[in-house]
Symmetry: C2
Subunit: 176 residues, 2 copies
């Protein structure tokens, strides 16, 4: 994995790919599937996400204020769904789904070696957690897997239906 410049982080999340949220608490890591996230700021990259209070990851995120957001390639689709179908309360998802991890640089949660990008984050605002389960995160370091850079990602359309990235088009935009 190579460092992904902070200025490029939004290009990983703005297209709305299904992501994996990795946390660690009391030395035990966990991972969940997440589709409710958006960019908030380019630099420093800030990201908002919704993590339900019913998710096992909620407590870890709330208590540690740290996580990794990983963007899986479409080739991981079956594992992405299986990760979402079970809870870290009951199983070690890393062992069950053969998820290779690497230590992060600045947070306790591990990186996922098979993902396109890994974004190390810290919670910077929890004022809407109580009302909406909405966390605002700031990226503190991020990683790109060059071999997977062009891999298609998954876009969830409900009930296990996903659109994969297809044709790429380029238009003259003045917008970043």
């Amino acid at each position: 994995m190579k460092t992904l410049p902070m200025a490029h982080v939004y290009q990983m999340l703005e297209p709305g790919p299904v992501a994996l949220l990795v946390t660690a608490r009391d030395g035990k890591a966990n991972v969940m599937t997440m589709s409710w996230h958006m960019m908030v700021e380019f630099e420093p990259p800030r990201i908002a996400c919704i993590v339900s209070g019913a998710d096992h990851s909620f407590t870890a995120l709330r208590e540690t204020g740290e996580c990794v957001i990983a963007v899986p390639p479409a080739s991981m689709a079956e594992r992405v769904v299986e990760i979402g179908n079970c809870s870290g309360r009951d199983v070690d998802k890393f062992a069950r789904f053969h998820l290779e991890t690497k230590p992060a640089k600045l947070v306790a949660a591990p990186l996922l070696a098979d993902c396109i990008a890994n974004i190390e984050c810290r919670v910077i605002d929890d004022s809407l957690v109580e009302r909406f389960n909405l966390f605002v995160l700031e990226a503190v370091h991020s990683w790109i897997n060059p071999a997977l850079r062009a891999a298609p990602t998954l876009h969830h359309r409900g009930w296990g239906e996903f659109a994969l990235d297809g044709e790429i088009i380029r238009l003259k935009s003045r917008m970043r």
Copy 2:
């Protein structure tokens, strides 16, 4: 356009398509391109989005507390980029880009007839507007264009590069 059931609204936005945000203020409508949005709740459908204070739409959204989020098909890609390349301060984007509108049911902002879905929204939380330009909206009515339901959408990857929805896959998910 047919009514889209509230329970299906998230399926339009969760996949992360580029959207159009339509507002109206003092009888004058405006539209901007938006990629920073996420689902917050299934039902009632709640949506968070970032609208920069530099955007002309910001004042209309702030003052009226109402908008329409429209999901354009990929066939509108050039107009979607052009809409983002100019400001409603300077031009009537509906006239310039030949955008056909229809009256909404519950908000003053109009619907975009050529879009896949139109979601009428009201602002329900503005507590993070000052810090992050983050609005939380609640859908009050929504519309689907049945003829465009299967149309691919656009996923922005930065600087005018878009991935179009490609292959559709279906996996056994216990998650909605």
